[in-house]
Structure formats: structure tokens, C-alpha cells
Symmetry: C2
Subunit: 100 residues, 2 copies
């Protein structure tokens, strides 16, 4: 069953359109990660943070990507990364119109 | 523009089908919250945690719901609640097939 990966971390920008421009190649590469289904890109300019909500086909896929992305962020000097992998409760999510 | 609310907290169950049964009425009530668009219900039995990824129409809607839900959880004796409200980067999210 698919797994949800929730990540966020301190981030000093760029945000918005500039972020979209500078991270376009990274986004395209994520489409090729094993088991990747989708990602919502999150950002909070006021709180200097950013992250993502991902859905992967399996826990192993989510964990493999998390390890890779954590290493990439740490190489960029980012620390304080928060990451959690969750099951999705399908019955309750369907009741609340979740796009799954 | 719509806002994403990410919440998670220590939770000792029930999980899975039992969770779906016991929280069905709560889920239905969430559909009536102002500005609510959808929720993915998250749970992690191994780590005793649960939460949700919500999308609301506005920041005010997200914040109003967060305050209400936080008070409800605290009344149930739940502490250690982590909650963050984010903007969604639409360009990058579209590139990654996000269901928005």
C-alpha cells in the first residue's frame, strides 16, 4: 500500500516563482525516482521553511528517497530536517475527499 | 490561494479499520469546516503517531481549524502536537503530478 512521506526543513529561499525556476530540474528528476507517485511542494517564506508531501508506492521506495534527499539537503548545508513516513488511512481519507 | 496544513502527534490508536470506524463522525464533521477542501489521514502504528495533511481555501481557514483541532486533541490528553501551515508551490507541484 502506498506511503506518505512528509518532510520539512529550514530554508532561506528562493521562494515562489524563483524557487520554481531554480528547482525545476530537481523536480523533473524526482519523477524518475522508484515508486514515486506525486509531490506537493510546500514553502513558508515568513517562517523560512520548505518541504514536501510525497506519495510513494511502497515504504521501501519512500525510505530510499528520504535517505537520498536528506543527504542532498545536508550537502547544501541544511540541518534540522524533519521527516516522517506514514500509512494512509484510506477509508477516512476517502470520506474527506482526499485526491488519492 | 489555498494553504496546506500539516499536523502530526503522538497517538496510541486505534489504527487502520478500527480508527476509521471510531473517527468516522469526526471525519464527516471536517467536511463542514469553513474553507475545507480535503484531508489525507496519516497514521504510523510502529511509531505511535498519527495526523493529517489538509488543504484549505485560505490561511485564515487553515488557522481557524488548527486552533479548533489542537484544542480538541489537548482535551483528549494528546500533547506534542506538531503543526505547520504552508503555501503550495503550484508550478513545482504540477511538474510532480500533485493532485491539486
Amino acid at each position: 500500500m502506498s506511503k506518505l512521506l512528509q518532510m520539512d526543513f529550514p530554508f532561506s529561499g528562493p521562494f515562489g516563482d524563483e524557487m520554481a525556476e531554480s528547482l525545476r530540474e530537481l523536480a523533473l528528476s524526482i519523477n524518475d525516482e522508484p515508486g514515486f507517485m506525486w509531490k506537493i511542494w510546500t514553502e513558508n517564506r515568513a517562517q523560512n521553511s520548505a518541504g514536501g508531501i510525497y506519495v510513494f508506492e511502497t515504504e521501501e521506495d519512500a525510505r530510499t528517497y528520504l535517505d537520498k534527499h536528506r543527504a542532498r539537503l545536508e550537502e547544501l548545508g541544511i540541518s534540522g530536517i524533519r521527516a516522517h513516513i506514514f500509512d494512509i488511512n484510506p477509508t477516512l481519507s476517502r470520506l474527506n475527499h482526499a485526491p488519492l
